[in-house]
Symmetry: C2
Subunit: 109 residues, 2 copies
């Protein structure tokens, strides 16, 4: 588990197609193999359990803030964002935090 967790939650434009969603998932799935700064990378579409949820999330772990910036600036990541994600994007909410260790202690800014 990295020492910095990045979380982003998205909603998509109504006209977003299944092909666009699939292409985004394929693009994201390739990133951990391309960007060594990524310690852990998970993403997925909302499971539909709760009404009012957003639609998609990415949870990524990094060793530190510098590693997060390497990921954010990596051209392979930027390409997925610009070419595959942004055309679908309606809303995005994100945060990077130093995670509590499974309930042992909490992170304060």
């Amino acid at each position: 588990m990295g020492r910095l967790t990045h979380v982003a939650i998205f909603t998509w434009k109504p006209e977003t197609t299944e092909a666009q969603r699939a292409a985004l998932c394929d693009g994201l799935a390739a990133l951990p193999g391309l960007i060594p700064a990524i310690r852990s990378y998970r993403f997925g579409a909302d499971a539909g359990l709760v009404v009012g949820n957003d639609q998609f999330a990415v949870v990524a772990d990094f060793d530190d803030a510098e590693a997060y910036w390497r990921y954010a600036a990596d051209p392979r990541h930027v390409d997925v964002v610009e070419r595959l994600l942004k055309p679908m994007l309606r809303t995005r909410h994100a945060i990077q935090f130093t995670p509590s260790e499974d309930g042992v202690g909490a992170s304060e800014p």
Copy 2:
């Protein structure tokens, strides 16, 4: 790692105090010891790396949707939400998803 990941991202009311933030973190930190359905539980305040971020996140892993519901309905969790979180709450964005395995395969709804 559980098979269902719950992510929630929050912003707080401007009048929220440091004491309220600390009480919320203490309340959340106790939950993994009280609710066996929780497989992994991480939370924290935004690290301040990126302008425009939200302010706080919780990332929790469960074995399945049924375990997520046990957590959501557990009175110790409901108490933290009602007594500590809601008085601070401005916005909340959440999702539950079956995570991709670190880039190997993607989750589709």
